[in-house]
Structures are given as C-alpha cells and as structure tokens.
Assembly symmetry: C2
Homo-oligomer: 246 residues x 2
C-alpha cells in the first residue's frame, strides 16, 4: 500500500463503473484473480486487462461505436534529429516521452492505446466513462506539454536541444474493438481518428491544436486569439482549428 500513488486504484475502475463489480487489482485480494489471468491493464493501471476489451465481448460484437476523445502527441523533428544525435540521446528522448505521456493520460482516466515510433495515441471515455472526457483530454495535453518543458529544462547543458511536442485532439464517434482474429489488435478506428491524426500533424512544437468540436465543449480553457484556418492533408476545404500555446 505504501507504494501506491494517490492516483492508483485498488479495484478496476472500468469493471466498477460498468458492472458495479469490485474487481481487486492491487493488494492481497488481487492475488487469486491474478492466478486466473486478471492483471493490471498496461493501457491504464486503474483498469484490468479483461475490462480493456470485455465490453466488446459482453455485447458479442467485435466492435462497438462510442463517443470518445482522441489525443495524438508526437515528438517534432524526431527523424531529423536522429540524423545528428547519438542513439543513446534519441532513446532518452523516447523514454521520457513515453513516461510523461502515459502518466498525464492516466491521471485523466484515459488509456494509452499505443505508441507508434515517436507518436502516442490516447483515448478518453473508454472504458472509463466521464461526461467531461473532452476537458480531461485537453487537460492531459496541457499536462504533457508542462511535463515535457520541465523535463527539457532539467536536461544537462551538453545534451542535444530537446525537441518540442505537437498535440492534436478531436472528439466524436468512432469504432473501438479488436481487429483481426489471428493477431488481435485492440484499437480505435474511423474518420474521427484520422482527423485527430491530421490535426496533430498540423500542430507546431509546443502547441495543442483542437477541432471546433473540442473547442465548443471547453471554451473556458482558451484565451486570446486562438482560431485559425488550416489546410489539412486529404481534406479539401480549409479547417478551422483552435490553438492553445503551452
């Protein structure tokens, strides 16, 4: 118990919320369940591994359609930097990026779905549902940028200059579930997810760029001029996005 941080739960938050089942994931009561294969989810340490995907199984469908908020974060200029920096320095950057992102997302009840090279895909409102999932995602993005700035400030003087992060957020309906039968890949797909990825690609280092759908739910988090038109890859018309400077 002494090892727990305040954000760590002793029961699975997802199982409790959806079924009112207190599934122990930490402490002595968790041991018998662990023997049966119930473990802490790697996507969020307050969930169990069963609950990650069980809601799709309960519904006897491979995929379910949910309203959620998707956050993509990416290390800007990672490939270019990797041409000049030592591989140990590149590794340090990736280690730091992975840890800071994961902790910020978990603190806001999101799940880290996957890391893709120098980018992260996080989902909010599944399986832990929150009415304020859009705000939680934006606050997680602020946390990620803050953590990254602090970490960069702590880097030793001789180290390579730390690259900035670009973050993009969109919200809407998408399909969540397992793709494939031989290899099962649990992920979120749909046009909303592609759009979130495009928004992230347009974000400059240090920026959080969000769609109008996100902005409409959290106008109080923005100040000063923030709306601008962007030409996003694969989208014909200019898209209005809202920019938050970390």
């Amino acid at each position: 118990m002494a090892l727990m941080t305040p954000s760590q739960s002793t029961i699975c938050k997802g199982c409790w919320q959806h079924m009112r089942m207190p599934i122990p994931i930490r402490g002595p009561l968790a041991l018998p369940l662990r023997m049966m294969g119930v473990k802490i989810s790697r996507m969020n340490p307050n969930l169990c591994n069963i609950c990650e995907t069980m809601f799709t199984r309960v519904k006897r469908r491979k995929q379910i359609v949910v309203t959620s908020t998707v956050l993509f974060a990416d290390v800007r200029g990672y490939t270019a930097l990797s041409q000049e920096a030592a591989s140990s320095e590149m590794l340090d950057i990736l280690h730091g990026f992975t840890d800071e992102c994961a902790e910020a997302v978990w603190a806001r009840d999101g799940i880290v779905n996957k890391f893709i090279g120098d980018a992260m895909l996080a989902i909010f409102n599944f399986p832990i549902m929150r009415d304020d999932h859009v705000e939680q995602a934006v606050r997680a993005a602020q946390d990620i940028q803050r953590r990254w700035l602090r970490r960069s400030g702590q880097a030793s003087a001789g180290a390579v200059p730390s690259p900035g992060l670009g973050i993009g957020i969109h919200t809407g309906t998408a399909s969540i579930g397992e793709i494939g039968t031989a290899y099962k890949d649990f992920t979120i797909i749909g046009p909303m997810v592609n759009m979130a990825s495009r928004i992230q690609a347009a974000a400059a280092a240090g920026d959080i760029l969000v769609s109008s759908a996100v902005y409409a739910q959290v106008p109080h988090l923005f100040s000063g001029p923030h709306a601008a038109e962007f030409a996003l890859k694969g989208i014909e018309r200019p898209t209005t996005l809202h920019r938050m400077i970390a």
Copy 2:
C-alpha cells in the same frame, strides 16, 4: 493437437534456440507454465511472452543492438477510401489485412511488432534468429501480396474495390527493447527502421520495394529490370531501390 496447423510449435522456438530450454507452449505440459504467467506471444504463436523481451532482460539492458530485417506493409489509399466506403467495409479490409499479414510473417519466423492504423511493422531475426532472415522477409512480403490478391478475388461483386498493399523492406542494425518505465512499449528503433518506413511509403499498390542492402542478399528473387532511383522524404540524395511486382 488436432487443432494445430503444421506451422505451430509445441515448444517456444526462441527459448529453445537461445537457451536450449524446451518451454512447452501448447499441449498438457503447457498448463503449469500458463499458471505461472507463461503464455503464447501475440507477436508470434511459436514464441512465449517471456521470450519476447527476455533477451533484453538477460543482458540487463533496456535495449540491445541486433542485425535484423524490418518489413512495413500498408493499405494504399485507405484514408481516401474511408471517405466513400461504409465503415463495415473498411473494417472488413482491416480484419483481412491484419490476418493475412500476421500469418505470412509467422510462417517465416518473423514477429508482428505492431499494427498502426492501416499499416503493419514486422521484424525478422529477433528473437528467432535465422541466417536467411532477409530472404524470409522478402518471401513473407510475396506471401502477403499473394494472399491479398486471392482475398480480393474472392470479394463479392457488389463490394468496394479492394485497395492494394504497398510493402517496404530494409535490413541492418537497430535497437530492440522496451521504451518507457510507466508504460512499456516493446519495439525496434533507429535510422534503419525509419528508412524501411520511407521505402514502404514509396511503394505503389501491389509492389514490394526493397533497399540495396536487401537486394544484395537475395538477387535470385528478382528478374527483369528492377532498380530505380527514388526521392525519399527526408533523404537528400536519390536512393536506389529494387522493385518486385507481385
């Protein structure tokens, strides 16, 4: 036993090769180990989940440098197609892509490291080591294209036209291991991996595009004119690549 396909092993191929330890992963002898948490790896059904990452632990380092071959495969025009096709049809495409890729990679002793939207990252020569890992990767790519063509030929007449796949392959040294401490992401990183991804991006639908380093080890698999110069994103000079038409 009746459920096993010829390619499925009863012991973990990785543990056997590296330590001469017969770790049962199928059949009655596998049960006690399963109780202890040893399971079939989802990256390759002939490996155990311990062995996926144990070689990095045995060496007491987060990362090890290995010579390997990396294969990226991608559904060409997936995002564009998703604008016009029904989401159920897009799901069918992703399900088929995931399964065909995984089975082709496993049959050649590679591991499926991850799926990223409509793309796959596969690694050959880790943890199952083979002197002919370059050839195995190219043959896996041929299998993937063949399987995809067969599957597309079987699609019903009214379905959307099936998109083609682009595949890129490169070989060299890279760093394999777990990134992060809070969230652990097992993956392969380094300039070789970035280059493989760039090569894949240059491959047209139906093509297998490989680097000169790959070609040099498997010239017998190519026929007719195959070399061409490509301008790859982020690479200043033109790059000579070798094209195999499925």
